[in-house]
């Protein structure tokens, strides 16, 4: 049996294992990769590689950036900074029709500037924004949809865990990925806010106007969110300068975040413990997926399947954008049925060589894929953010999904803009990073 054929069977068995055997994706990838290596290279080589790869993954200096960014997000989450963010955005936009929903999206974006997880953003913003919107008789579909859409910005706006993992897996600059995702995040955020205004234009009773706040009050709310802005700028400047490693940038911002939380009396010992405990568990989950993907990736390399697929697709002479569109369709479907991170790591060993063969920029591709897979967090049947919001707010999950559907065009428009204008949207800023 040829190498690529073994690889293909391995991929099929892995997919079957993930969908039907009820085994976590990380474990399936590791087991399928290991069994494949046993088949191709024999027991001794596969066993030796297993021990070596696990050690090299878990004791990888570059990978420690993941727990650091997660810990920073958890500090901010447990310290309750989201209240300040929401209060500030509410004072600026709350008096307009649908203003609270716009404020929710902007506050989610602000929270995402520190927290790289969409589920954490969804959990936080449902607790903060939904009660406020309920107070002003906002329609459940509008309020649930705004929180769901806003929460997906968690993996779009730096520091995004999905982009960090993508960068580490493919050996790309995390700083470039972060800067590359800035403009697409802004476009998506703006389109989401416009969607709210359009919904409220069609259904004026869905988002009644809030109280008018004086300009003095509005400006007075800004210093309360200064900490988050400073931390975000610190991360971006540190990565831009190229003088510190991503781990150091994450470590310093994490330390500054902790100091700021403690000085403001927002993080008592019990919350600190919870933040560390939760970060440990999430980091372990993410690194386990990474370890599984690396072992599976080694198997793929040995079989030469990715190279053969890339050569085959190259030989088809199809326009690059069609191949890319098919890939994006895969990612959109994949994002709907499984977690973005897991799907990304499963698919990258096969899709990435194709992208390189077609001559697309890997940074641009990473940001596009991040937007596409993020969409899966608010679409059925998996739609993790919708389930989190439903669980936290008591709004039926079907209504949350319905509310989120209004924002799907915003994603498609963002992706279209990124495809039409790759230099302006992604590469211009990412190429500035040293």
């Amino acid at each position: 049996m040829s190498g690529p054929m073994v690889g293909l069977i391995g991929v099929a068995l892995m997919v079957l294992g993930i969908f039907f055997l009820r085994i976590p994706a990380a474990f399936v990838m590791a087991i399928a990769g290991f069994c494949g290596l046993v088949f191709v290279r024999g027991w001794t080589a596969a066993l030796n590689l297993l021990g070596y790869e696990l050690w090299e993954t878990f004791a990888n200096y570059g990978f420690t950036v993941i727990p650091m960014f997660i810990l920073l997000g958890e500090f901010i989450y447990h310290a309750g900074y989201s209240d300040n963010l929401y209060s500030a955005t509410y004072k600026w936009f709350g008096h307009r029709r649908g203003g609270l929903a716009v404020a929710t999206i902007l506050a989610s974006a602000g929270f995402s500037a520190i927290c790289g997880s969409n589920t954490a953003t969804a959990a936080t913003m449902s607790g903060v924004a939904i009660p406020q919107m309920k107070k002003y008789n906002y329609h459940p579909t509008l309020k649930a949809g705004a929180v769901a859409a806003g929460s997906t910005l968690g993996v779009m706006i730096p520091p995004s865990i999905v982009l960090v993992v993508y960068g580490l897996d493919r050996g790309l600059s995390i700083g470039k990925l972060f800067f590359g995702s800035l403009i697409p995040s802004l476009i998506l955020m703006t389109l989401m806010a416009l969607t709210v205004l359009l919904i409220c234009r069609r259904h004026p009773d869905w988002g009644p106007e809030g109280e008018e706040v004086s300009w003095k009050e509005r400006f007075r709310s800004l210093p309360k969110v200064l900490d988050i802005a400073v931390l975000f700028v610190a991360i971006m400047v540190a990565l831009y300068s190229g003088k510190v490693t991503p781990t150091e940038a994450a470590g310093v911002s994490c330390f500054l975040g902790l100091v700021s939380c403690v000085l403001r009396g927002k993080l008592p010992l019990s919350k600190f413990r919870m933040a560390v405990y939760d970060s440990l568990r999430i980091s372990c989950m993410v690194l386990m997926i990474l370890a599984g993907a690396i072992i599976f990736g080694r198997f793929m390399t040995v079989t030469r399947l990715p190279n053969e697929v890339a050569l085959w697709i190259g030989g088809l002479n199809w326009p690059g954008w069609i191949v890319l569109a098919i890939m994006m369709l895969f990612y959109a479907i994949g994002g709907c049925i499984m977690d973005a991170l897991a799907f990304l790591l499963i698919s990258l060993p096969i899709f990435f060589p194709i992208v390189q063969q077609l001559g697309y920029d890997p940074i641009w591709f990473g940001v596009v894929v991040c937007v596409v897979t993020t969409l899966g967090a608010i679409t059925p049947p998996v739609g993790i953010c919708c389930f989190v919001i439903s669980g936290r707010s008591g709004i039926p999950v079907e209504r949350v999904f319905k509310g989120a559907t209004y924002y799907i065009p915003a994603y498609f428009i963002t992706i279209a803009i990124m495809m039409l204008l790759p230099t302006i949207t992604v590469l211009w800023l990412s190429n500035m990073v040293k």
């Binding site: 055997l21 590791a30 781990t247 470590g251 989950m285």
Partner: protein
């Protein structure tokens, strides 16, 4: 008599489950300390660099602390079912099929992580035998490899306990019916 044996078995499993949870909570404390350690070392390294000083071995310390943090959290993340599982299709299966699949899952993963723990341990033994030390700090790092092997073994144990609990729950269900 049979009922009595079942009660003893159930009590033993309850205790085993409790010990497993307690052990993993203690290990998570060590993991948490390692996580905070990474933050301190990374921040200190940058701070010292700003003053023109260098923190020798910061890179290695971060690496080893990272390995300790994850190794110590492997068991607790399994206990909390933190790992991403796709049950879009399988949740529609008959409960008996789900139970069989879960049993299969726990058996396969227990074996796999036991093998993984053994392999990491053997990797550590190679480093011990060769008396390998880290590049900058010149310290032997095989104890960290052994800690990772221990963490993987604890993960295998947590999966095995889940397997036993699956049958315990089944027996409890049958007794109730």
């Amino acid at each position: 008599m049979l009922k009595n044996t079942n009660n003893h078995g159930s009590r033993f499993l309850d205790r085993l489950s409790l010990w497993n949870r307690r052990l993993n909570v203690y290990l998570a404390v060590i993991g948490g300390a390692a996580l905070v350690g990474i933050m301190i070392v990374a921040a200190l390294n940058v701070a010292l660099r700003l003053f023109g000083m260098s923190f020798l071995g910061a890179y290695e310390m971060v690496r080893y602390l990272g390995a300790v943090a994850v190794a110590m959290a492997l068991g607790i993340s399994q206990i909390h079912n933190d790992h991403i599982m796709v049950d879009v299709f399988s949740r529609k299966f008959h409960p008996v099929v789900i139970r069989i699949l879960d049993a299969l899952h726990f058996v396969i993963t227990t074996i796999f992580f036991s093998v993984a723990a053994r392999q990491v341990y053997l990797w550590g033994m190679i480093k011990l035998r060769n008396k390998e030390v880290s590049e900058t700090l010149k310290i032997p790092f095989y104890p960290v490899i052994f800690l990772l092997a221990f963490g993987l073994a604890i993960l295998a144990l947590a999966l095995f306990v889940d397997f036993l609990l699956l049958f315990c729950r089944r027996e409890a269900g049958e007794a109730a019916s």
